[in-house]
Symmetry: C2
Subunit: 526 residues, 2 copies
């Protein structure tokens, strides 16, 4: 089996190199590619993707992974102490690689080729109607396409097979092994806490003459020019790079570039690139998104180089990835400790407006809470309700509990109910996100899971690193980065999420740490 | 055959997409890749190259191209008028595609796999000793490696087969169909003209108090700060971009970036990128190399998009490619016409030193002629002798007429004889170029051929475009670009070089146009 395992590893490494080249095609497309290169680039990317798919689903590969998986299962049974001497040919690591590759392979294998092609075509064709529907705020332009997509996604769930709900089958593609039964109780707990908490904050705003003392409202003149300033993009870039360097982002193993939509692209532990956008009127966007992407990047930078190509060197799930970005963005990047040494630097980079703004005013503005319509602009408190709204709706759509045409109405009711605000039109409501047009059903919950993981991990880090707050106040992040690296990053896909979080924090994932964090932070601010 | 031809085309297009992804890996490596990405990038590139090689040499591909080639040969014979009705299934274009793919395939096929691997290993290992030898100017460090390389190159020539000289077999890899018998008489003619011409220029320098009136010498204080200035790299970039835009370089289909060694990377007609380097003390480097690379880029931009993937959409040979870059760099970019509208822009971009330098002084400095030791820094007159020296030596090495250990001595004698100067050490002599360490024997002549093609093409363009000089003086390059596009670029590999040049200029390649150009230009300057 060792020879066969080596064969498997060689194929996986080759596939990862090919994927890495494909990833560069994507990265370049978003950063430096000349405008008129787009059409051909799309074709190059699809040739490369087809190449990977072909190799991963070839009969030779199927034979190899099936044999290894069968051997592993036998070996797994022999591990039970009462049995005979365990077969020494499999190591724990080899077993993990085979288990995870088998997971990917068997999932992919379940979909007929024609179905995969149809889904790709339909979701690709869906982009234009979604853009038009959003631009004119007319859901009826998008709904026929959405109906087709949902039919296909239900079909996809049938191909995979599932327990309880077809939605579980789709979720598994983004957050392996997670089920509704696991996380819905936590979401309910978060909702039960947040809805009255946010209503209370709204109440407070209504009762005071100067809401900025409570964090300010977006368009309020009292925001002192912080969100409607004139921030030179070059100066923003310099500031972000300095900030990232202080956080320990290794510029000899990474880059920061500009794109329309920020993202992180990790090629391997020696080359992980992040991007941001410099809004002239709002410096908080590039700062927040740079810290967020750096959190993703630290994960990819911390993956095992030795295990490059196999699941042991790959990130685990979208939820765990998001936990890394949200931990840095919110728990670190919106803390007093983080900004204590950095705010003077921000003041000297942008004397207008910050020279006249006290640290306390800045900190409150950074952490203002305000129910709003657009998810991507939401603060860390209201954000989870945006996610829960989407999750509840998409689960019901997939289960057939609500009709597509009713989505706008259901959406608006939930926004009113949870966030207390009215949705003026569908562009600011159910048409705002691209995900459904891409066929990403089951993706949204990972954002909320990421926040729960983040809060629990950060609480554990605070417990394990004695002077964490003080270290951060002194601009030192080494212990925190190392804690995350050894607890999360290096393990790749060795453990499933439950086991990983249990090992890292000593308890199963729960919503308590998130609720405690929000309660403590915002009762101090209010 | 049409179905088989379509099959062939599909495979070729797929291969070209894969090569395009590989090319992006190279481009990124030279431009934006973080330092520590290098090692893994090398592996990704070799996986991608192996993938292409595997597909191109697979038994299925061999069967397909062999069948098509056999069918084409029959069809070709049937084209002779006296024969029966020609088989209508092959078009002229299809025949050309099959002919060229067969050329590439059969050439590659002749080398045993183990030999290719050995050559790749030996030349890859040769880089370090070459660097060390050059750094310490010690040929003995490099000579054992060079002996191995030459042995392999002779072996390679035997695998290919050849007439007259094994050198012809190697040349064929860079300049298909070209042979020593074709071009050596032209090289002799160039040499016979240049040696006394340059000696005469040297003589003139020796006789006057102020050599700058004759073009100046490199380190002469009379160069008025033109080569040892302080040129802000950002200002250089802005100037080069403006200059390229005036030349018609389409920035929506291309880019200009920075690298250590300038190069052009064409992905397809919608995305062609050039690079340069900004030397702080010498603005002429970035200007000259930008124009040179733009010439290469215009070729790639002018290739047929319709024929993307097949030889009809590929550039023809290194010599033809170099003709495009040299035509722009020298015939256009070092002319009075080109600089008449542009020099005031240069003066305002770099008031120091150009505000105090007259157009005439600038023009003479730009076109100064001076025998020197380093090829890459040579002017357009002496450059060809640098090439001829290398060509004569490498031909003799491959033919076994001189021993490896005698290279330094032979080199130095030729430099003395042709250029009239003494070589102080091998770093400034036979160790200066990387080519031999890469196994590139047969590459150098294409530089000189490029210059001859360029002169002949430019003379023809001057004849065909009535007011070319005037147009350029007015900053208009549309007719010239279009002339080159329709005469050279769009044809791809449809014609071999001889036929292409004959069609474009009305005569076979000859050295007369180059000699006329140099004589006319420099008798006017002197």
């Amino acid at each position: 089996m060792t020879t066969k395992f080596e064969q498997l590893k060689n194929i996986l490494v080759e596939l990862t190199h090919i994927s890495s080249a494909t990833a560069l095609l994507h990265w370049d497309l978003e950063t430096y590619m000349p405008e008129r290169g787009a059409e051909m680039r799309g074709k190059t990317i699809s040739v490369m993707s087809a190449l990977c798919h072909e190799k991963f689903t070839s009969p030779e590969f199927e034979k190899l992974i099936t044999e290894l998986n069968d051997a592993m299962k036998k070996w797994g049974q022999a591990q039970i102490p009462s049995e005979i001497e365990p077969d020494p040919i499999f190591s724990e690591e080899m077993a993990c690689v085979v288990r995870e590759v088998w997971r990917d392979f068997s999932r992919q294998k379940k979909l007929p080729k024609a179905f995969v092609a149809e889904l790709a075509q339909v979701t690709s064709d869906a982009h234009a109607p979604w853009v038009r529907a959003r631009a004119t705020s007319d859901f009826s332009i998008f709904s026929p396409t959405l109906k087709k997509i949902i039919e296909l996604k239900r079909q996809e769930a049938e191909y995979y097979g599932y327990e309880e709900s077809p939605y579980n089958a789709l979720l598994d593609g983004f957050e392996p092994d997670a089920t509704i039964a696991d996380y819905e109780p936590m979401f309910e707990e978060v909702k039960k806490f947040l809805v009255p908490f946010i209503a209370c904050i709204k109440e407070q705003y209504a009762g005071v003459a100067d809401p900025s003392s409570l964090g300010g409202t977006r368009d309020d003149i009292t925001s002192l020019g912080m969100t409607h300033g004139d921030f030179d993009p070059m100066a923003q870039e310099m500031f972000c790079k300095e900030m990232l360097a202080r956080m320990g982002f290794p510029f000899d193993r990474g880059r920061l570039d500009q794109t329309a939509h920020p993202f992180t692209q990790g090629f391997h532990a020696g080359d992980v690139r992040i991007t941001t956008r410099y809004d002239r009127d709002n410096v908080f966007f590039s700062i927040g998104s740079s810290i967020h992407e750096a959190g993703h990047a630290f994960y990819d930078l911390g993956l095992s180089a030795e295990h490059f190509g196999t699941p042991l060197g790959e990130s685990l799930s979208l939820g765990i990835h998001e936990s890394q970005s949200r931990l840095w963005e919110n728990h670190v990047g919106k803390s007093r400790a983080f900004w204590t040494p950095l705010y003077p630097r921000l003041q000297s980079a942008f004397p207008k407006p910050f020279a006249d703004i006290s640290f306390e005013q800045f900190y409150r503005h950074l952490n203002r809470v305000e129910p709003s319509l657009i998810r991507t602009e939401a603060d860390e408190v209201t954000y989870n309700l945006h996610i829960i709204i989407r999750y509840e709706i998409e689960r019901e759509i997939i289960e057939g509990a609500i009709a597509i045409d009713d989505i706008p109405e259901v959406w608006n009711q939930k926004v009113k109910h949870y966030l207390g605000i009215d949705v003026p039109d569908d562009a600011h409501g159910c048409l705002q996100d691209v995900h459904w047009s891409c066929g990403y059903f089951g993706y949204f919950p990972t954002y909320c899971l990421g926040n729960l993981y983040a809060a629990q991990l950060y609480a554990a880090a605070q417990r394990d690193i004695l002077n964490l707050e003080e270290e951060i106040t002194q601009g030192s992040f080494d212990h925190l980065r190392e804690w995350l690296r050894t607890r999360i990053h290096v393990h790749g896909r060795r453990y499933v999420q439950d086991a990983l979080i249990l090992r890292a924090t000593g308890e199963k994932l729960n919503a308590r740490h998130f609720i405690d964090y929000i309660t403590k932070k915002y009762s101090e601010i209010q």
